[in-house]
Subunit: 429 residues, 2 copies
């Protein structure tokens, strides 16, 4: 795999290069789709072994990226995400072995039922075909995404950020080697090795070669790709997540859940950004919770009723209700009841993850049914909305779309179901 | 519902009109989503009754469309599709009653499993929200689509062809009346009542108000909508369907299936367009089959080997293998074996519906696994690829997409699944 950084005629060249990727991927996809579980698992384990064996090389290549990033004065957070420590390298290898240990979703037959005509109709789970993943900075996504695509029988085209190109290509070489060792085509996983942005533009217009695009990164990246793509996109947009403390809540549970949902990690998409509290329990809940938040260094922005109960809070404005802070900031609103809580969530939320704390069964059921989010939780911290916690084994992202995959996307989200029909000579009359 | 046929400033007006439709639909969608099964069924049955009661009015409005179509010299086939006979009106009513009798997909909870942390994680089936359907000529689609969307808990925006506008609006009035009688919002089903094409353009750019677009009509319509839409589209494209007669086929079954797959109806998407025959049985199968096809008035276009066995056949060219004739024309190719048959289908087919005729279990399994089509059939006519035959009860189309819905799309395809999580105060550590 050769690194090209300069091209004479970027436009045309990028298009040709993308077309080559697409053709190779489509050809490889058929082989991967029909590969046995054992072969795919062997490849995953081989790749994991090679990544560990080459950890020194990976760190050396990563150091090049880090130096270039420092020269460009990238932020500390970005540098941290870019870095491949020994721990992270081992984490990649372990992740691949864990994917190998998951059940193979491909070939599963369900709902096989006889019809009045005597035919039997069911559904078979099959790979999507070719998956294109466009992501930023974290090089470990290269290994994770390759592993999930491979196990689910798909070919993958991976396009990481230009700031991680040396790291990504070093990981790509490990993948290529592991694929070859297990007899799978090397082009089952292709890592884009040119910096030209035109390549992404070309990939997005090749629905004949790519079946789905999964962007992973900031909102700008995802929105731009969704706009440009002629290929279906599985999107992972904002997490403006809510916890609603119901009038019938167990107060201790409510405080523990709300505190955890905000403070366990600030930068994740399933972190609570707005707390809603029923008027009936606000006086009991909010003073205790607010002092905990203030102690933890969380800035509290509240409605007028909140301010009366939390003296350190500042007044929230309309914009706060729609903001994903990803930071130690929390907006709080006192609501009349369950109905107003659901209305607030539907009006301002992002349909990602929302939780109710209540001991009332009817309230729990109404919340579950009427909140239109990818994950709806009862008496649990929003931080549980995650592929690992849900038992999917691994996730390639959390879909905020409604079609195809909604919520954490694991191996199943990278497959589809076709109808299969078994007969004995039936014809239609 | 008022019919406007002329607008002063079409562009801006169309945008405002579309926005109004979107807002109304989004508001209605929440009510329909939480409506009980009984209420939805009542509405469906009321609409069916009203359609029958107003059959005279429907036929009178339909006559206006037919006269306009005749004035425009539309083709006989188009006039036929446009016509609402008494039988077709009763068919619409019966279709709605049948949808009422189907199980309600909304609220179904599956895969509820405990996780090591003690939380229980499952999936709840919920409506998509707002479904936009854009279709041509057949006015009965208005009732079918409204019924399927309603039963699956969605609000619908329906945009029929301008040639059927009087018929569609008359049906829309029946729907509105039935919705009101059962206490559901009238805007749960909105029929676009202006001819301005700009309305469709505006609708396609409102992902905040419409969750999915389903175009029903010719390839041009579907491709144009897919290109313009910022909303996910469930597409129904070509059916270049194959029957492969394997070397291990039961010859009588093979002949019956191939004959039925071509001649039972010529104009449907699941009609066979190319017949593949294994070399080993070609001499036995093709002379008999060809004479049947010729007798039925089917033009046969074949490869050279076919020509040697079917003297009346003409030589097929490369274009024949990719053509959806929708007519009494059939292309035939003699292939070496199963492997070449699958290669042909993957190279030239449209991934819609493909069948094998064989008594060999291994061949059947390889065909099922390796043919990447929305329906893969064994020993059955391709004409069975249909929502009714599959036991879905009704279908809104046959998806040739891989994401979300693949193959016949019934009530389930108009829903999605969200994750639900039940806990007892769990927090993440």
């Amino acid at each position: 795999m050769q690194l090209r950084t300069k091209m004479d005629t970027p436009g045309a060249d990028a298009g040709d290069y993308a077309l080559g990727l697409g053709r190779n991927a489509r050809a490889a996809a058929r082989e991967v789709a029909s590969a046995g579980t054992h072969v795919k698992n062997m490849a995953l384990i081989s790749i994991a072994d090679i990544i560990e064996q080459r950890s020194q090389n990976l760190r050396a290549q990563n150091a090049k990226d880090l130096r270039a990033a420092e020269d460009k004065c990238l932020s500390g957070a970005l540098l941290d995400r870019l870095q491949l420590t020994q721990d992270r390298i081992e984490g990649m290898a372990q992740g691949l072995r864990q994917i190998a240990s998951l059940p193979d979703p491909v070939g599963e037959i369900t709902q096989m039922r006889s019809q009045p005509t005597g035919i039997r109709v069911g559904r078979m789970r099959v790979p999507l075909g070719v998956v294109g993943i466009i992501y930023e900075s974290r090089p470990n996504v290269t290994a994770d995404a390759a592993g999930l695509c491979l196990k689910s029988g798909n070919a993958a085209i991976l396009r990481g950020g230009s700031e991680a190109i040396h790291s990504n290509l070093a990981i790509a070489q490990c993948i290529e080697q592991g694929l070859k060792q297990s007899g799978l085509p090397a082009s089952a996983v292709q890592v884009v090795n040119v910096a030209d942005r035109g390549v992404v533009g070309s990939l997005l217009t090749m629905p004949e070669y790519i079946d789905v695009i999964i962007p992973r990164g900031g909102k700008d990246l995802i929105e731009r790709i969704s706009r440009e793509s002629l290929i279906p996109v599985i999107k992972h947009l904002d997490g403006v997540c809510h916890v609603y403390i119901d009038g019938a809540a167990d107060i201790d549970k409510a405080i523990a859940i709300a505190y955890n949902a905000k403070t366990q990690r600030y930068g994740t998409c399933n972190t609570m950004e707005t707390l809603l509290v029923a008027d009936a329990v606000a006086a009991e809940v909010l003073p205790r919770l607010c002092s905990l938040f203030i102690q933890a260094g969380v800035e509290v922005r509240g409605c007028k009723k909140t301010l009366a109960l939390c003296p350190q809070a500042v007044l929230a404005d309309e914009k706060d209700w729609v903001t994903e802070y990803l930071a130690p900031i929390l907006s709080i609103r006192v609501v009349d009841d369950l109905v107003q809580a659901i209305e607030h969530i539907e009006q301002y939320g992002s349909h990602h993850t929302d939780a109710i704390v209540t001991e009332n069964l009817t309230h729990a059921q109404r919340f579950l049914r009427n909140v239109d989010s990818s994950s709806v939780l009862v008496n649990v911290s929003t931080r549980f909305a995650d592929g690992f916690e849900y038992g999917l084994g691994a996730e390639i992202g959390i879909s905020t779309d409604k079609l195809h995959a909604r919520g954490p996307v694991g191996l199943e989200g990278l497959t589809t179901q076709k109808y299969i029909v078994m007969g004995d000579g039936q014809i239609r009359t």
